[in-house]
């Protein structure tokens, strides 16, 4: 239960950072700008692609429905 609360707190933090970065642009980078920053290097672009592929593989081919 405590972990679930932490996950929701992290989600709220993500939303807050995103909203703050859009309302006050110099204060923080948006999520897209952060990804763009990572993508400035070829290695960063490779890492982003790998992470994206991993998420797809993990989420859509290896999921277990709760209670099944």
């Amino acid at each position: 239960m405590i972990g679930t609360i932490f996950w929701f707190a992290l989600l709220a933090a993500c939303l807050s950072i995103e909203v703050l970065s859009r309302l006050r642009p110099p204060s923080a980078a948006t999520l897209v700008q952060t990804c763009d920053m990572i993508a400035t290097k070829v290695l960063g672009r490779c890492a982003l692609l790998f992470f994206w592929a991993f998420v797809g593989l993990h989420l859509f081919t290896r999921y277990t429905l709760p209670g099944h």
């Binding site: 972990g3 992290l10 672009r45 797809g56 277990t64 709760p66």
Partner: protein, 144 residues
């Protein structure tokens, strides 16, 4: 614009079909592999993974605007906290009710076909969008 709309439609149909496939089957793996290969091949074709294309790096640098640590430190903090939580969840067996992993949390969102289709479409969009964006820039003459 027409091309993007058509691409979105194809992605939506693909997401609906692929999200109905039973997990842990060969077809489920093939469908994710097909989507991944399509994105990677197009990204490579645009030269995005070539070290001989500094224009691509400059393009991302311009999009990122200010790349100082202060600006992206909040995201770094969130990622570190998420990693810590994930490691704690995994060390508790991965299916702990006290500290669930992010996969266990997301499994609840995958209960219904429509919610799986929405997530699948979002995942596809996240992969396809940078390719579309870069391809549009290339057509406009930058980066070459």
């Amino acid at each position: 614009m027409k091309r993007v709309a058509l691409l979105a439609l194809v992605a939506a149909v693909f997401a609906w079909w692929a999200s109905g496939v039973t997990p842990f089957t060969t077809l489920a793996y093939i469908l994710v592999a097909v989507a991944t290969v399509c994105v990677v091949v197009n990204y490579v074709a645009l030269g995005a993974l070539s070290p001989q294309r500094p224009q691509i790096s400059r393009y991302y640098q311009a999009r990122a605007e200010d790349t100082s640590f202060r600006r992206w430190a909040p995201w770094m903090g969130v990622v570190l906290l998420a990693l810590t939580l994930e490691i704690v969840g995994l060390s508790l067996g991965g299916r702990s009710a006290t500290v669930p992993t992010v996969s266990t949390m997301l499994d609840h969102l995958l209960l219904y076909h429509w919610s799986r289709a929405v997530l699948y479409f979002l995942w596809l969009s996240v992969g396809i969008w940078p390719v579309v964006r870069l391809s549009q820039r290339t057509q406009q003459g930058e980066p070459q």
